[in-house]
């Protein structure tokens, strides 16, 4: 457990380092009067019209949901992958291959369906 404790202390160190840098550089740098035009959102010199919370494509949301689903499927393959060789050596390779085969088949069906339904198209 000592390495986990060390890891957490290291994270605290990194955060402290970052905060120190941010605070330190803002103390070191010049502090001129910031004009109103300078503090505006930078849009290459044009006065911005849009707000930051303007609406965006729902596509990003859909991408994120599909990502979660596929990510879970891939995570399930990880423990399977590291035990597969052991099972092959003990003669149960075909069983494991079949077990994952059905799962991967569902994965492929999902992927094909999404491509066909144009859910992954960005036009």
């Amino acid at each position: 457990m000592s390495s986990l404790l060390a890891l957490l202390i290291f994270v605290a160190f990194l955060a402290a380092f970052g905060i120190f840098i941010i605070v330190g550089t803002s103390a070191l740098g010049p502090k001129p009067e910031v004009s109103k035009a300078k503090a505006m959102p930078y849009e290459s010199g044009v006065v911005g019209t849009e707000q930051k919370d303007s609406r965006m494509s729902v596509k990003f949301y859909l991408t994120a949901i599909l990502f979660i689903l596929f990510d879970i499927e891939i995570i399930f393959m990880y423990p399977w992958a590291i035990t597969f060789m052991d099972f092959v050596k003990s003669g149960q390779g075909m069983y494991m291959l079949g077990g994952m085969g059905v799962f991967v088949l569902l994965f492929v069906v999902g992927l094909i369906w999404e491509v066909k339904s144009k859910a992954l198209d960005w036009n």
């Binding site: 986990l4 919370d53 729902v58 994120a64 990510d71 879970i72 399930f76 035990t83 052991d86 569902l106």
Partner: protein, 180 residues
Amino acid sequence: MLTSTDFLFYVLAFISVFFGAAVVIARNPIYSAMSLVITMISVAFLFGALDAWFLAGVQLIVYAGAVTVLFVMVLMLFDLKHEMKTFSKGLLGNGVKLIASGVTLGMLLVYIWSTYATEPTFKPLPPAATSSIKATKDLATSLFTDYIFAFEAIGALLLIIAVGAVTLSRITGGTHHADS
């Protein structure tokens, strides 16, 4: 005597409970979501403190790295002014928060009480694995032998969710139809 494992548990438990409370209390949904991230990460390290490092990694990848990214992204993408007004101020918002927290707390208390009131019957635990890679292999072996049906069912479930999500995203109209 406070060992380093105990110390670790208390620190992580405090962080997860504190930020868990912040998820409910924070007015701005973005801050709620960011607190949720920290809760997820500290829960992952709590798994790690129990030597379940594979689960800790999965918790980080799936919950902290995927599910909560979705929440944060959605909250940043959509205009949430109305929702913020409705749910962070006024009687209705606070009432909903209180009721939700109360119900959850009640369920937890009933669960804890019922566990302690009756004599606990634990199944004999399997012998502790010597390393986390061995523990992961044990996990995989039982997942793909004893629980193979549940595993395949998860595959089917994920497929259904994917189809459902795509179908729902295609529906036009609703509240956003008028201003598009």
